[in-house]
């Protein structure tokens, strides 16, 4: 029956069920990603941000919150210019991080 309205999906992130495989694999390959403090320097300086909304900070957070679609969209806007790596106060190799992520499939496996 059509009521003219539907159940809307919850926007809440359930950390019990969220799929963090890509994040887990990433930090295994690149442990420095763990030290992100979410300061946003990367996003503020990002060449791609004004074009595509790319933000390494949001990518790292999104991966931990199961927001894979947004993450992929952001990643596909990165131009690898490396400015984020230059400004990261925690010295995270963000450029490599992005490349590593692009090599992981949905299950967190490195594609061959």
């Amino acid at each position: 029956m059509d009521f003219g309205f539907k159940l809307s999906p919850s926007s809440a992130v359930n950390l019990d069920t969220v799929d963090r495989r890509r994040y887990d694999r990433l930090v295994q390959l690149q442990p420095d990603a763990l030290t992100c403090i979410g300061c946003g320097s990367c996003s503020a300086t990002c060449t791609s941000a004004s074009w595509t909304g790319m933000s390494v900070r949001k990518v790292l957070l999104g991966l931990q919150r199961g927001r894979d679609e947004e993450v992929d969209k952001m990643l596909s806007g990165c131009m690898l210019c490396g400015k984020c790596t230059m400004v990261c106060p925690r010295g995270i190799n963000t450029r490599q991080l992005i490349l590593t992520l692009c090599r992981l499939d949905k299950n967190g496996e490195v594609v061959r």
Partner: protein, 340 residues
């Protein structure tokens, strides 16, 4: 007066009181430690290890106890009343005796916020919700039915701190670093557990604190979620369901935990407020005792002969408290030197 050794009543035998008493005795005064509880050492004695070097609390307490062995210490003694005399104070003690002293040092310390007052977190209602102190107690004794091989542990920062509704708008200063310390300890204890810290701001101001934080992130993979826990519920299996907003993500988060640790904040000891009224020293807007000057004379009250050391004037770390205790002893020394 001139021929007598001046007596200094040190109220509270926590680390501030012990250290001040030690220094005062060394300076040739006669400190008297008055302690409400049955043992010296205060809160620190109840802790297991201390940040940022994981020093056992006993390593701080035991030397202090040993070096104040010669100081007259009244344990299990409360102060019924304080009478102001000319240049002197008369303390009426709970055992009926009274103590005449030429100076009073408040080393009254702090009281941990009663976490059950944050009703939404369910401390005292949900089995799996404990406080920072409970966890330290477990580290010390390993006796707590609530801690059984947890797979997910959460820490809530700022419980009763920076919270108008909880009656304390101040930062308790040490909870962030304590939460990180305890999170690391839990992770070391239960390596397979996921550990979450829910924080509003991380205030890691002290020496090596930031390193500690990085260690928690990089070496232990502790998840830091910026957002205050809004409410806690109990799932059917007795685990707790914690809801918060992940403010960096702008979305609500929910997680089921086996253990939730509330980082109860630091409030002024209510006894101190009463003693302050009786001795005529001011209590500040934040509920802590009011120093003569917050920059230059933090250990001095607005009244001659009344001094402060440690957390009675605000949340303090162990080194800050010890430094203040020494500073207070010197201030007392100068006070008597001037009078002579």
């Amino acid at each position: 007066m001139v021929n007598r050794q001046p007596v200094v009543a040190v109220i509270g035998a926590g680390i501030a009181g012990l250290e001040a008493a030690r220094q005062l005795a060394a300076l040739g005064y006669k400190p008297v430690l008055i302690e409400k509880s049955s043992a010296t050492g205060g809160h620190v004695a109840q802790w297991n290890r201390l940040f940022p070097d994981m020093t056992p609390a006993a390593d701080v307490i035991e030397p202090l106890r040993a070096q104040t062995a010669g100081v007259k210490t009244l344990l299990g003694t409360e102060i019924s009343a304080i009478n102001r005399l000319k240049d002197e104070y008369n303390l009426v003690l709970s055992d009926g005796s009274s103590l005449l002293c030429q100076a009073v040092l408040f080393a009254t310390g702090f009281r941990l916020f009663d976490a059950s007052k944050k009703e939404e977190y369910g401390y005292g209602i949900y089995d799996r919700v404990i406080t920072n102190r409970d966890l330290e107690h477990w580290f010390n004794t390993r006796e707590d039915q609530r801690i059984r091989q947890p797979k997910a542990v959460g820490f809530v920062h700022c419980v009763g701190s920076r919270d108008l509704k909880a009656g304390n708008t101040q930062c308790s200063k040490v909870c962030c670093i304590t939460a990180i310390k305890q999170a690391i300890e839990m992770k070391e204890e239960f390596p397979d557990a996921e550990v979450y810290c829910f924080y509003m701001d991380l205030r890691l101001f002290g020496k090596k604190y930031e390193d500690f934080y990085i260690k928690a992130q990089r070496d232990h993979g502790i998840h830091f979620i910026r957002g205050r826990v809004s409410e806690v519920g109990e799932a059917i299996d007795g685990r707790v369901v914690v809801k918060a907003e992940d403010t960096l993500n702008g979305k609500p988060v929910k997680v089921t935990l086996d253990l939730l640790v509330l980082m109860a904040g630091i409030l002024c000891n209510p006894d101190a407020q009463r003693y302050a009224r009786e001795t005529g020293v001011a209590v500040d807007e934040d509920g802590f005792l009011k120093s003569r000057d917050n920059l230059a004379a933090i250990t001095e009250s607005s009244r001659p002969g009344v001094f402060f050391a440690g957390a009675c004037t605000g949340a303090k770390t162990v080194p800050e408290t010890l430094a203040e205790a020494r500073s207070a002893a010197l201030a007392i020394h100068q006070y008597f030197s001037k009078r002579v």
